[in-house]
């Protein structure tokens, strides 16, 4: 479903950084992929390409068989909104909006009307077990709760793939376990999950592990 074809990414401000060397890689529906590797090796670069947040410098990337190179920013945006959900190490919840409103924001640019967005947001919050905190300001939530709200935001629009960049990087082991259980449940329901992690406990949770070293991606 996701296919990188000899895709590479070079950052060039002053002198070029080959963050991702030419990589060919396919991720099928329903996989649970973990990505590990040293800091600065190119994990986030890889994830951003897969999530259409960034485009390869060379090579191609197909999503459901469609080549994405040459698509407009707007087209990429709606594709991303429809198919992908994102969870980041820094939760990126908007202050001054309730947890529920933050979850709704994940579907703002999608096809659903307001009432439907609210219903889906409530369902997602229930799923991650924070229904009782739906109307709380995220600043009053614990780190673990915030990350679960961020996961609810990512899944409320029923994406096909969930991308997580160090989702447990700011969490203690108890909260990490909760998040891992959630990801496993979601994967069991058919959601494709791609997770970057430094944490060996998280790394073994997946069905497939990729290791990135110095811009080279290897199957473990």
């Amino acid at each position: 479903m996701l296919e990188l074809i000899a895709a590479s990414r070079t950052y060039d401000d002053g002198h070029p950084v080959h963050a991702l060397k030419p990589t060919t890689l396919a991720i099928g529906n329903g996989e649970y992929v973990t990505i590990t590797g040293p800091s600065g090796s190119g994990k986030s670069t890889l994830l951003n390409l897969l999530g259409l947040l960034d485009s390869p410098t060379n090579g191609g990337y197909r999503v459901s068989g469609d080549e994405t190179a040459g698509m407009s920013a707007g087209h990429l945006g709606s594709l991303r909104g429809r198919l992908f959900g994102f969870v980041f190490q820094a939760f990126h919840l908007l202050p001054g909006r309730t947890a529920l409103e933050n979850v709704e924001l994940g579907m703002l640019y999608g096809p659903h009307r307001r009432a439907e967005r609210r219903a889906r947001a409530l369902r997602a919050i229930e799923k991650i077990g924070l229904a009782h905190r739906a109307h709380a300001d995220p600043r009053t939530l614990s780190g673990g709760e915030r990350q679960r709200i961020a996961i609810a935001r990512a899944i409320a629009g029923t994406p096909r793939v969930l991308f997580c960049d160090e989702p447990t990087g700011n969490l203690d082991s108890a909260n990490t376990a909760t998040v891992l259980r959630l990801l496993r449940e979601l994967n069991a329901e058919g959601l494709t999950v791609v997770v970057i992690t430094h944490d060996p406990e998280v790394a073994v949770a997946g069905t497939r592990t990729l290791t990135v070293v110095d811009g080279h991606v290897e199957e473990a």
């Binding site: 986030s44 951003n48 999530g51 947040l53 960034d54 920013a73 707007g74 945006g77 709606s78 991303r80 909104g81 429809r82 994102f86 980041f88 190490q89 820094a90 990126h92 908007l94 202050p95 001054g96 909006r97 409103e101 924001l105 994940g106 579907m107 703002l108 640019y109 999608g110 009307r113 307001r114 935001r153 629009g157 960049d165």
Partner: protein
């Protein structure tokens, strides 16, 4: 994304931090307040001017020579007769104003300087003193140039004169107080002078006597009489005389309104420009602190156009709210000032709508640059911390 969603998002962003938003919109608040309050006060005042415009002053004409030293034939009975025959002249008479004279109630009592005003009975009728006691001048007094005097209350009090028929000494000559008056209908300068018959004043020497003719006209005739009077008084050289008539109240009102309206619009416009710049600046500055939010919106499917529209909607909403708050303040100011002065406030609510709309447009313009800048934010850069 639907327009309603866009507006709701903008309102959410703007109203979640009301203090910051109000500071940002302060310029438009002030602009709208200035606009609504000044225009409101102008129409209130306009109403007031026409309501309380002094109809008496509007029936008054003064004729002066261009050159005070020249001949005085234009003040002669013959000239005045021609003037009095004009249609619309109710009363007309000559005056001569002399400089201050040492005046006292009795020899040995402190001396006051009092200006003398010589008036004949018709001129006195134009002035219209409101007598507290005594009598006005008669033709007899005038013909015989009697040494009698009419005193305004304030001058009488200064001199210590408490009753009529008392004597006052002007330039060491005794005059009999014929009357004391509290107020005048026209020529308020009579309230600080001693009035004597025209001929009596004519016999006194003075360094530079000022001569004029004062006329009471029928209502609405002032402009026309002002035009005709010099010719009636001095047919051989009408241009040597100059008429002063009060401006037509309608013209006056329009002039005042036009002037004030123009300067009010200037002030509002300048404030509005400042308001636009301040909204634009604040929006541009806030982009830096909102890169993560904008990146997130892009990540969850927002297109660059969505980001553009959202920021534009925010500054527009901000401008509209600022305009509405300012318009409300302006209405309050107009009402408060009117109440304070006992006027009837004239408030055109369309002004408030115009102010809000103009401020919304200012917000829209202010948002263009920051919104265009925000579309260049790449989701990747924004989201990695």
């Amino acid at each position: 994304m639907r327009p309603a969603d866009l507006v709701r998002e903008a309102l959410l962003s703007v109203t979640r931090f009301p203090g910051r938003s109000m500071l940002t919109a302060l310029g438009t608040v002030l602009g709208a307040a200035a606009f609504v309050s000044t225009l409101g006060l102008v129409s209130t005042l306009g109403q007031q001017v026409s309501a309380s415009f002094d109809v008496r002053r509007a029936t008054e004409v003064l004729v002066q020579p261009q050159d005070q030293g020249a001949d005085t034939g234009w003040q002669s009975e013959k000239s005045l007769q021609r003037l009095r025959e004009l249609n619309g002249v109710r009363a007309a008479g000559p005056r001569v104003l002399l400089d201050e004279r040492p005046t006292t109630r009795a020899i040995g009592v402190p001396v006051q300087g009092v200006r003398l005003m010589g008036v004949d009975p018709p001129a006195l009728r134009v002035i219209g003193p409101a007598l507290a006691e005594g009598r006005l001048f008669t033709e007899y007094d005038e013909r015989n140039a009697l040494r009698i005097v009419l005193l305004p209350r304030s001058v009488a009090d200064q001199l210590g004169v408490t009753r009529t028929q008392a004597a006052v000494f002007i330039d060491n000559e005794a005059y009999t107080v014929a009357g004391i008056f509290d107020d005048v209908t026209r020529r308020p300068e009579a309230l600080t002078a001693a009035l004597v018959p025209f001929r009596t004043a004519g016999k006194l020497t003075s360094a530079n006597p000022k001569r004029d003719v004062i006329i009471e006209t029928a209502p609405g005739a002032a402009q026309q009489i002002a035009h005709q009077a010099p010719l009636a008084l001095k047919p051989e050289a009408a241009e040597a005389l100059r008429s002063i008539a009060p401006p037509d109240p309608k013209t006056l009102r329009r002039e005042i309104e036009d002037n004030v309206t123009r300067s009010s619009l200037m002030v509002s416009l300048v404030t509005l420009v400042i308001g636009t710049v301040s909204i634009g600046n604040a929006a541009t500055a806030s982009i830096a602190t909102r890169t993560a939010e904008i990146g997130l919106r892009r990540a969850v499917g927002g297109r660059p156009a969505h980001v553009f529209a959202q920021l534009l909607a925010e500054t527009t909403v901000l401008g509209a709210l600022g305009g509405a708050v300012g318009a409300f303040l302006g209405v309050c100011v107009t009402s408060a000032v009117s109440l304070w002065n006992g006027w009837t406030p004239v408030i055109d609510l369309r002004l408030a709508l115009v102010a809000s709309a103009v401020c919304a447009a200012a917000g829209l313009v202010a948002g263009l640059v920051p919104a265009a800048r925000a579309t260049r934010i790449q989701p990747v850069a924004a989201l990695q911390r």
